[in-house]
């Protein structure tokens, strides 16, 4: 639609150059030709691409074709990617074109594993038979264990979300929006896909330069960015590059903090950096998309944790206590949410425990997602994050389960004991430290162990530091691993 109405306005900015709606549409049509000539019927496909205008054209081609597509992180280990493509029932994998030939590369998946592929398709058909809406995006959870979970989103769920985002953040032609996160992140539903739907311009941050504060500052100013949505690490990088307090991004109208708790010292600098912006804390999960929104008063910043705010239109949120009862007054409980944007369930739900449940009190017919976030409701009714009900932490905004990282390390033949702890870090939120005991006679050091992690874990789940020794790890009086002591010893030494 946007190509008809504003063919020559920029849809994207990539490496300083604008890409118009017409040009993006042309590239999407080229990619679609590849799909049509592949003779794969209505089968889902996998996309293997890091962020670029061509990758975005690939996604648009799938959307035009109403074809479901899996969009995993291209940095996952190769065997994990292959397994995900098979589980999603993908007939093949399409990659961004080779810069020299300009041709999209198409790889048919091996048919030796027909049963598994058929099962994937069958699961999908079954899980969506009650819903006439076709699946488009298939995202994945960060999955710090062997295999990320596949989260299929229906066209309707994506439409409802992008409509909300357009209204809430005044997306329209002429509006520039920064896209900080990698293309496979759920955050792109707002900053890329909602922006394009409403005719705005997406200023793409190159993943390889995403941690350079000078580069980020330059993008914001040069391209007149008006909406920024990013994890706290982004704001931390900007404030670090602003030690003399001279930078101002006066053109930004909306600043959205999402994905993790922000350090108060960093938050305190945000009104100065963005003097004309409305500031928000936005809470969501891949499974449900955004759920709660809090508008921060820049003249009266909260001193403690940022409130999570109120449910978005159509969203229900509950606190559920340890006994499984909904908590209506002050206190803590696990946050359950039900949103108009949510997935119906994990695609391969036969492999995962479902986290979608009915209302614990049976007061409505909605399906609620158990977020695993422990939340406090204060006397005034406001909600703040307390922590997790499990072993999950955020590393650079990516949810990581430290127990799963331990499980992977424990499978190394030279390791007899291992404890992974999350150490707070100003920039990353948390960094992981691994304390490992090797088997007698082993000369294992961190070089092969890091390679082992790289082969089995997503990049963000690889511990930043390792300590490998021959001594037993500290344990509590009941014989459990004493992670608190491990963390204490590590920070004392570090």
């Amino acid at each position: 639609m946007n190509v008809r109405h504003f063919p020559d306005t920029p849809a994207l900015v990539w490496r300083g150059e604008p890409v118009s709606y017409r040009e993006l549409n042309d590239r999407a049509l080229r990619a679609r030709t590849q799909l049509v000539t592949s003779d794969i019927g209505a089968a889902p496909i996998g996309l293997r691409c890091s962020k670029s205008p061509d990758s975005i054209a690939l996604v648009l081609a799938c959307l035009m074709d109403q074809r479901s597509f899996l969009l995993p992180s291209p940095t996952l280990p190769e065997h994990t990617l292959q397994e995900l493509f098979l589980r999603a029932g993908c007939a093949g994998v399409l990659s961004a074109p080779d810069p020299s030939s300009g041709r999209y590369s198409w790889a048919v998946l091996p048919s030796t594993d027909r049963t598994r592929r058929d099962r994937g398709v069958a699961d999908r058909a079954r899980s969506f038979s009650p819903d006439p809406e076709a699946v488009t995006f298939m995202l994945t959870t960060s999955g710090s264990t062997g295999l990320p979970k596949i989260v299929p989103l229906s066209e309707g769920a994506v439409d409802r979300f992008t409509d909300w985002a357009g209204t809430q953040f005044e997306l329209r032609p002429g509006r520039s929006v920064l896209n900080f996160s990698p293309l496979n992140f759920d955050l792109c539903l707002l900053d890329i896909w909602a922006t394009l739907k409403h005719g705005g311009c997406v200023v793409l941050v190159e993943p390889t330069r995403a941690t350079s504060s000078e580069y980020l500052r330059d993008l914001l100013i040069r391209h007149d960015v008006e909406l920024v949505q990013a994890v706290p690490m982004f704001y931390q990088l900007l404030t670090q590059g602003n030690r003399d307090n001279t930078t101002e991004f006066g053109g930004v109208r909306h600043v959205v903090i999402t994905g993790d708790s922000i350090a108060p010292r960093c938050l305190a600098q945000i009104p100065g950096l963005f003097p004309h912006a409305r500031l928000y804390n936005l809470y969501g999960c891949t499974e449900t998309n955004d759920s709660l929104l809090y508008e921060i008063d820049p003249t009266d910043l909260p001193t403690g944790a940022l409130p999570l705010g109120d449910p978005l239109p159509g969203v229900r949120a509950l606190l559920v206590d340890e006994d499984g009862a909904t908590r209506n007054g002050p206190g803590t409980g696990e946050l359950y949410v039900s949103t108009p944007f949510q997935t119906l369930d994990y695609l391969d739900f036969s492999h995962h425990e479902s986290r979608f449940v009915a209302h614990p009190g049976g007061v409505d017919e909605l399906r609620y997602f158990r977020t695993g976030d422990l939340v406090r409701r204060h006397e005034d009714g406001s909600l703040t994050l307390e922590g997790r009900t499990d072993f999950q932490v955020k590393v650079r905004g990516v949810r990581t389960n430290i127990e799963n990282v331990e499980q992977v390390l424990r499978t190394h033949p030279d390791i007899s004991e291992v404890a992974v702890v999350a150490v707070p870090d100003l920039v990353a939120g948390h960094l992981l430290h691994a304390e490992a005991r090797r088997v007698p006679g082993s000369a294992l050091n961190s070089l092969p162990l890091r390679q082992f992690c790289a082969d089995h874990l997503p990049l963000t789940a690889i511990p930043s530091t390792f300590h490998i020794a021959d001594n037993p790890l500290p344990r509590t009086s009941t014989g459990k691993l004493d992670r608190r002591m491990v963390a204490h010893l590590h920070t004392r030494e570090g």
Partner: protein
Amino acid sequence: MNHTRTITTFIVDEFLPDVPAESLAADYDLLSGGVIDSLGLLKVIAWLEDRFDVVVDDIEIEPDNFRTVAAMNAFVQSASRAA
């Protein structure tokens, strides 16, 4: 000037303190080997700039320039010549 030894010592001190410097090959892939991530890469670049008095443009922050000790050495050598 070949800076392989100096660079290796830095990488080992910073990221692999329990690893003997001689066991890190100059062509070992530090990125896909899980040794350096994107924040680590910034640390390496800041050190290279400081230690060898070279300037790394944003354009040059291509991971392939810093994938191995040998690549870093080649980068420093060409950057010094350019200056």
